[in-house]
């Protein structure tokens, strides 16, 4: 699968990849749903302080807006292979059968190429701000070193099926740059790695009455929360 078949964007704390052959309407519905549901969940719960409740609210919003949950799987573990490897490796280690392996590999390749060519692109800064716990001053007024990661990865296949991987863990030293590719050290992990995987499909009849309202609600938020990956097909 070449890069031209994948469109990619950072949508708040989600790295979203969409197959170009999927219909324009489904891509735009997916992009809006992914952003809206994260914002709705964040309004209810802290993404970092109460991640479990945040994830439940996110899934509740997703299904309420017409995404039928076809399959899900969760696990919590220490990495099976010796680190270092990146969040891609953590996802691949636990990938359930319903997740699209080929699309995930293609997405990783797209990301690698994009960040090699544009290492300082705005999308990675946005993902860092949204998916990484903001550093806060400790009682001694030193920046907090440990950092929680709450990252989603969405894969929209050519047939309109959406797979979402949700990964969260805490590491002792904060990420210095690219959360997607920075190598992780096992000694750095302060928590198990929690993973949730979801397979979802949009019910058009349910989403249709909401489409315009969702889109309008996001009109003034996309500029701050969505950033297309550079060097990848732009998502309109």
């Amino acid at each position: 699968m070449n890069q031209g078949l994948i469109e990619a964007q950072v949508s708040a704390g989600c790295m979203l990849f969409m197959h170009s052959e999927c219909s324009a309407l489904r891509k735009s519905d997916t992009a809006d749903s992914v952003l809206y549901t994260q914002l709705a969940a964040t309004k209810r719960h802290s993404r970092f302080a109460n991640t479990s409740a945040w994830n439940e609210a996110w899934l509740a919003a997703f299904t309420r807006f017409g995404w039928a949950l076809e399959a899900h799987e969760s696990c919590c573990h220490r990495p099976a292979r010796p680190l270092p490897y990146s969040v891609w490796g953590l996802l691949q280690d636990s990938l359930p059968a319903f997740m699209p392996v080929a699309l995930l590999s293609a997405a990783e390749s797209v990301c690698v190429r994009s960040f090699e060519r544009h290492p300082d692109q705005p999308a990675i800064g946005l993902l860092g701000r949204e998916a990484l716990e903001p550093a806060v001053a400790s009682v001694r007024h030193k920046p907090q070193a440990a950092q929680k990661v709450v990252l989603q990865l969405g894969l929209l296949d050519a047939n309109g099926g959406l797979s979402v991987g949700f990964i969260t863990f805490t590491q002792a030293s904060g990420f210095k740059g690219n959360v997607l590719f920075e190598p992780l050290q096992v000694t750095d992990l302060l928590s198990d790695v929690q993973l949730h995987f979801y397979s979802l499909r949009l019910m058009e009849s349910v989403y249709a009455p909401l489409r315009l309202k969702v889109s309008e609600a996001l009109d003034h938020r996309r500029a701050q929360r969505v950033s297309a990956l550079m060097g990848v097909d732009h998502v309109g």
């Binding site: 809206y36 549901t37 914002l39 709705a40 309004k43 439940e56 609210a57 899934l59 509740a60 919003a61 299904t63 309420r64 807006f65 017409g66 995404w67 039928a68 949950l69 076809e70 399959a71 899900h72 499909r201 019910m203 009849s205 349910v206 249709a208 009455p209 909401l210 309202k213 969702v214 609600a217 996001l218 938020r221």
Partner: protein, 266 residues
């Protein structure tokens, strides 16, 4: 005569206005989508059947459009009202008591409600077959004229077969029927007699399993793995009584799907 049958028009209307409706059922994800009229998903030809929340409704030929709408609206309203009051997984008897009370208030006359433990005659069985078996029992108990009973059973079977091949309605049905460890759903077969009377045979299934359910209807269960309860009823719609509350029901059900936006504002 039960209390609902003695209610006045004003009391029925007030009940409909006051009745609190759940926006969601208790599903695998805890919060499946149930969005007013948009949850009425025709399986293929609206003449055959529809998935209405956790109800699979099948209509024999000859049921008028108005009666179909009344049946679907009644079941959607009663399901949402019962979901608001009780968790069908932990309080299934109370759930069905409230479901039946709402139907009775809307004008449905129940002639033969039974709720009991279901024991399959086979070691392995599917919930689809259990539902059809229960509907068959309800039809027999109703002692409807032969052709009517046969037609009801046939449309119920046809509706289940149609559901097998229709991904989207099946997903809606399953997402609405699922509970944490099982499912709660109803199958209804509906026929209209020559004088316009609407008869509905209902088979209800509530089960919990030792393993996670991903396929509510068509999975082959080992009977030792599941605890199953069955409900059956023969219902007759009093169209005159329903006509009094029709507008109120439609108003409540058609309250904007945009409630989802309000529920999850950003």
């Amino acid at each position: 005569m039960n209390h609902e049958a003695r209610m006045t028009h004003a009391e029925r209307s007030a009940f409909v206005d006051r009745c609190q409706l759940a926006d969601c059922t208790h599903s695998l994800s805890e919060h499946p989508s149930e969005m007013d009229a948009s949850m009425l998903m025709p399986i293929e030809d609206p003449a055959q059947g529809a998935v209405v929340a956790g109800n699979l409704l099948a209509f024999a030929e000859g049921v008028s459009r108005q009666n179909k709408e009344d049946v679907m609206d009644s079941f959607l309203f009663a399901t949402r009202a019962a979901n608001f009051k009780f968790n069908p997984e932990t309080h299934s008897q109370q759930w069905y008591a409230h479901f039946n009370k709402v139907l009775a208030t809307l004008g449905w006359v129940s002639t033969n409600w039974k709720y009991s433990r279901y024991r399959s005659a086979h070691r392995r069985f599917s919930m689809e077959r259990a539902g059809l078996e229960i509907i068959g029992s309800a039809i027999s108990a109703a002692a409807l004229p032969g052709p009517a009973g046969f037609a009801m059973l046939k449309v119920a079977r046809d509706a289940v077969e149609a559901l097998k091949t229709k991904d989207e309605p099946l997903r809606v049905f399953e997402s609405q029927a699922k509970t944490h460890r099982g499912a709660n759903f109803r199958m209804g077969a509906c026929i209209e007699s020559g004088d316009g009377t609407v008869n509905l045979a209902m088979g209800a299934v509530n089960f919990s399993a030792t393993s996670t359910v991903t396929n509510v209807l068509f999975w082959e269960w080992n009977s030792a793995q599941v605890e199953t309860f069955r409900g059956e009823d023969h219902l007759v719609l009093n169209s005159r009584l329903y006509a009094d509350v029709r507008a109120g029901i439609q108003k409540r059900l058609s309250e904007s799907a945009l409630a989802a936006i309000e529920e999850f504002d950003i």
